[in-house]
């Protein structure tokens, strides 16, 4: 019995010896699965939308097949991803939709995260109705007429009001305030995840039912379910400063890349490659559509894209 009792003690003791008795550095916390068997590993964070998956898939394919790295991917939501980046748990975020608070904290003050340049894709959030419905009722595309259609957008979940479907809790949204401040007869229903939202949108589209949803571009789903944006009051710099009093729509955001500061400095070829990685909305959608709609694995999809776009990615290496 004595052997069994001392075993955990021995393990703990050896761990303490291994980690050393000095200070532990919380800014250097690599994944235990990284660099196994002596290959160099890059860890990329993937956010839950498919566009982000496409960036990562192509970067991963090129890193593995052209530069000889091993790539680990971790799915994390946006804000926790910033945190993970500052600790070195992941090496890069390839698609950030603008987080001024985080940027100030980590890039400017703590300097644990470095800017990685633009991704080349511009993002835009808005409210969308399916194009088949917009064609029948052209005036639905202005927010001033939305109340007229509220009854058509009603569901069991929205009570007596029209349903405005919002997505994942990790996304930037002012929709609740907008509905209040613009006096719209709508109830914001949170789908809770993008997967749930996409499933519901496709379901509605199959039945050709009217719906109103928070959505964003670039997004592969727009190709499968054509949607028309509803015009909200135009965005002006600073009009969304107070989230409770917002009465304007969303801005157009050039999406950014961010790297862990140490990785940006010492990451060698991989870091240089990720900094140069820059493609277009069409490129991203092409890969996204293959992953999400044709159900290719991210690897197959990126292989297809890489084979046919040599001129684009040769510049990055």
């Amino acid at each position: 019995m004595r052997v069994r009792m001392t075993c955990p003690v021995a393990v703990t003791a050896s761990l303490v010896l291994l980690t050393g008795c000095g200070a532990a550095d919380m800014t250097k916390q690599a994944s235990p699965f990284a660099n196994a068997r002596g290959t160099k590993t890059v860890t990329l964070s993937v956010q839950s939308w498919v566009g982000a998956q496409s960036n990562v898939a192509v970067a991963q394919y090129l890193l593995e097949h052209k530069l000889g790295y091993r790539v680990d991917t971790v799915q994390v939501d946006e804000i926790p991803a910033w945190d993970a980046l500052s600790q070195g748990r992941v090496d890069a975020i390839l698609e950030d939709w603008g987080h001024p608070d985080q940027e100030k904290r980590y890039v400017d003050d703590k300097k644990t995260i470095a800017r990685g340049g633009e991704l080349g894709v511009t993002g835009h959030i808005g409210w969308y109705v399916p194009t088949y419905f917009a064609k029948q009722h052209p005036d639905v595309t202005n927010w001033k007429n939305l109340n007229k259609y509220a009854s058509q957008f009603r569901t069991a979940e929205s009570g007596g009001k029209g349903q405005l479907m919002d997505g994942s809790p990790s996304y930037v949204t002012n929709d609740k305030a907008l509905v209040d401040n613009l006096n719209l007869d709508y109830q914001v229903v949170f789908a809770g995840s993008e997967a749930a939202q996409i499933t519901q949108i496709r379901r509605f589209a199959k039945e050709r039912k009217p719906f109103l949803t928070y959505w964003y571009a670039p997004q592969w789903l727009l190709k499968k379910v054509p949607m028309t944006e509803v015009k909200l009051p135009a965005y002006k710099e600073g009009c969304d400063a107070d989230p409770a009093k917002v009465t304007c729509g969303y801005p157009h955001t050039p999406l950014q890349k961010y790297l862990n500061a140490d990785f940006a400095k010492d990451g060698g070829k991989a870091a240089a490659f990720l900094k140069k990685f820059r493609w277009t909305t069409e490129d991203q959608n092409e890969v996204s559509l293959m992953i999400a709609d044709q159900k290719l694995t991210p690897e197959q999809a990126s292989e297809k894209w890489v084979d046919s776009h040599a001129s684009t990615w040769k510049k990055w290496l």
């Binding site: 200070a23 235990p32 699965f33 068997r37 939501d77 804000i79 949170f190 749930a196 379901r203």
Partner: protein
């Protein structure tokens, strides 16, 4: 619903004097209410939770979260304590992972099969090998090894923590009393609730995942260790004492060996809980199979999610059966591979040598990685099947209507009235209602805990969303109980049904909940209805199992005499089996409630709103104030429901 309506028949079934006692308790409660309610009404006239009774934690929690982030890289607490803890976890997981990779797929499979053979016999050995090979065939070898590495470390840590707590509880009466409420709370705590604080301290990734798993998986080990130590045979202990053993010798040579069975059962429970947590922890970047499931969902790919979900189920079934077999084969003879001391060790040695030989062969042949060509793509056919199913069931099914219509009707006719009813009641009326249900079932202490727990949600400032969540939980529990009892009765009456059900229940119980997120939305749309559906699927297996077992264990003599009196099958069931199985049925209700509550967060991911959404929001936005408050409110709801559904006689047994 169920918890509101079940007490009435239950009371009627009680013998006369108990009924009187219940009436007396209710009268006392009515008296107290008559005094307190006018007072409360005069002070806070509105029906909703009074604002003066809420404590806003936003400021301190946001402050704490900012402090941690700002000091994480410099404060000694992190540099010398959490940092080392984190590094230790990373190093050990890495060590196990490298060993698994180094052994290669052949070596790992051989080692798994040989361990299973020594512990549980030839059949399970073959099953284990098949399970490992299936993980490879599904193209999930590396993620499976990552999950396995994580599991090994998390289970070891949980066992160490659990045994230490259990030793304390088992040896000291006072420590046991102090530990019991802590373990109780740890067990009703939904896993998501403490992911956020753990992440804040350790950051995204493996260390946070392992520590969250330990919190979740250690309590059963602690409980069963304490139980085993207390249950040790008095005579043996006296004999040991008379031989002049010291307290330490007595513990090591008598009490722990005697508690072997409970210790192994504890290990089994811990492994199962750790495995279910390994998937939940994917939300905070644990990697491995859970992460594959989670990533597949982002592209709405049920097939790929299933391909990663199946290895989890296989691992769970294999680990469950093997550890259960180790627990059954008491008296020192391990399953079928029995034998005496020396013979046993030689057999182990042969098994070890064989595993090493296979691993070395794999190494020499350069076949460490699972060959890419040997994978079976199951994603596409699965997606087709799911697509066909949802297309044909969603709407327009003749006579019964489609699932979307059901969901709509369920929302309008059941969920809305229950929610509006609860939220429409004045706050003190809801508290009184809880007291009126909890007191007759348990003691005044149970009732007080339940009332205070519910009141705490009001104090935290989330009264309305808590009642919304409560209404969903009640609806889900009602559906679960109706389906579960019906299925359980069917399984108890027919061996064939039970045999057919077993694998289905295994799969439902161990399949990560994330996998059925998409089908649930495709069938029921976004909203509270799919949230209820997901909860029902998750809680049903436990309810069916407990019901079946309870009915089957009814005293055969009672059944025999009922039959000889000429009772029909239905009469036997109603008048003999169900009343005699009452404790088991109550346990099923209790488990149903706890399990349904564990999936509230999943409900938040499919449009359930309320607390589930807020907890997910907190995690996604790194917003400690929202997330932690929602998590705490879920814990309070869990505590309240647990007390309300937990009869007094079980409380005394639990302490054993």
């Amino acid at each position: 619903m169920a918890t509101l309506t079940t007490p009435a028949p239950r009371l009627a079934a009680l013998p006369g004097f108990l009924r009187h006692q219940a009436v007396r308790k209710l009268l006392l409660l009515a008296l107290a209410a008559a005094v307190l309610v006018p007072l409360a009404n005069a002070r806070w006239s509105s029906g909703s939770w009074p604002a003066t009774l809420t404590v806003d934690l936003t400021k301190p929690l946001t402050g704490a979260s900012d402090w941690i982030i700002d000091n994480r890289d410099s404060h000694p607490l992190f540099l010398y304590f959490f940092g080392h803890l984190s590094n230790g976890v990373v190093l050990s997981v890495r060590a196990v992972y490298l060993v698994l990779l180094g052994a290669g797929w052949a070596g790992v499979t051989a080692a798994g099969a040989l361990i299973a053979w020594r512990v549980a016999g030839v059949r399970l050995a073959l099953g284990t090998a098949a399970a490992f090979l299936a993980c490879g065939l599904l193209g999930m070898w590396v993620p499976t090894m990552q999950t396995l590495a994580l599991m090994v470390v998390a289970v070891l840590a949980s066992v160490v923590v659990g045994v230490l707590l259990g030793l304390a509880g088992g040896l000291s009466e006072r420590l046991d009393r102090a530990l019991r409420p802590v373990l109780d709370t740890m067990q009703v705590l939904p896993a998501f609730a403490y992911l956020l604080p753990v992440v804040l301290v350790f950051g995204i990734g493996v260390p946070a995942a392992v520590l969250a798993t330990v919190v979740y998986a250690a309590p059963p080990m602690a409980r069963l260790t304490a139980l085993g130590l207390r249950g040790a045979d008095k005579e043996v202990l006296e004999a040991v004492d008379s031989l002049g053993a010291t307290a330490r010798q007595r513990l090591l040579t008598a009490r722990i060996p005697l508690a072997r069975k409970e210790l192994l059962l504890g290990l089994n429970q811990t492994i199962m809980m750790a495995l279910s947590m390994a998937v939940i922890a994917s939300v905070i970047g644990a990697g491995g199979l859970g992460d594959r499931v989670y990533q597949a969902l982002a592209s709405v790919d049920v097939g790929a999610a299933l391909a990663a979900g199946i290895p989890i189920v296989l691992l769970a079934v294999v680990l469950d059966r093997v550890t259960a077999a180790a627990g059954d084969g008491s008296d020192g003879s391990y399953g079928s591979g029995g034998g005496d001391g020396p013979a046993r060790w030689t057999a182990w040695a042969y098994a070890g040598a064989a595993a090493v030989a296979v691993a070395l062969t794999g190494r020499v042949a350069g076949r460490l990685d699972w060959p890419d060509a040997w994978t079976v793509p199951i994603a596409a056919p699965v997606n087709d099947a799911v697509g066909w199913m949802t297309d044909h069931l969603y709407s327009g099914v003749p006579v019964v209507g489609g699932t979307a219509d059901w969901a709509g009707r369920f929302t309008t006719w059941v969920l809305d009235p229950v929610r509006d009813g609860l939220q429409g009641l004045p706050w003190w009326a809801v508290l009184l209602l809880v007291a009126a249900i909890a007191w007759p079932i348990g003691t005044w202490r149970t009732a007080l805990t339940a009332v205070l727990a519910l009141a705490a949600t009001g104090v935290l400032g989330v009264w309305e969303p808590s009642l919304d969540t409560l209404s969903q939980v009640l609806a889900a529990v009602a559906v679960t109980l109706v389906l579960g009892f019906a299925t359980g009765i069917a399984a108890a009456r027919s061996d064939r049904v039970e045999r057919l059900l077993r694998p289905v229940l295994d799969v439902f119980q161990t399949m990560p909940q994330f996998v059925y997120l998409i089908p649930v939305v495709a069938l029921f749309g976004v909203g509270r209805a799919p949230a209820v559906a997901a909860a029902v699927v998750y809680a049903l297996p436990a309810v069916v199992r407990i019901t079946t077992q309870g009915l089957r264990q009814v005293d055969p003599a009672a059944m025999e005499s009922a039959r000889s009196l000429g009772a029909t099958g239905a009469q036997q069931l109603r008048q003999v089996q169900l009343p005699l199985a009452r404790p088991a049925l109550l346990l099923a209700v209790n488990q149903g409630v706890v399990l349904v509550l564990a999936v509230v967060i999943i409900g938040g991911l499919v449009g359930g709103g309320a607390l589930g959404y807020e907890a997910v929001f907190g995690l996604a936005q790194g917003d400690l104030a929202t997330g932690l408050v929602a998590g705490a409110a879920i814990v309070c709801l869990g505590l309240m429901l647990d007390r309300v559904t937990q009869p007094a006689d079980r409380r005394t047994k639990k302490g054993a």
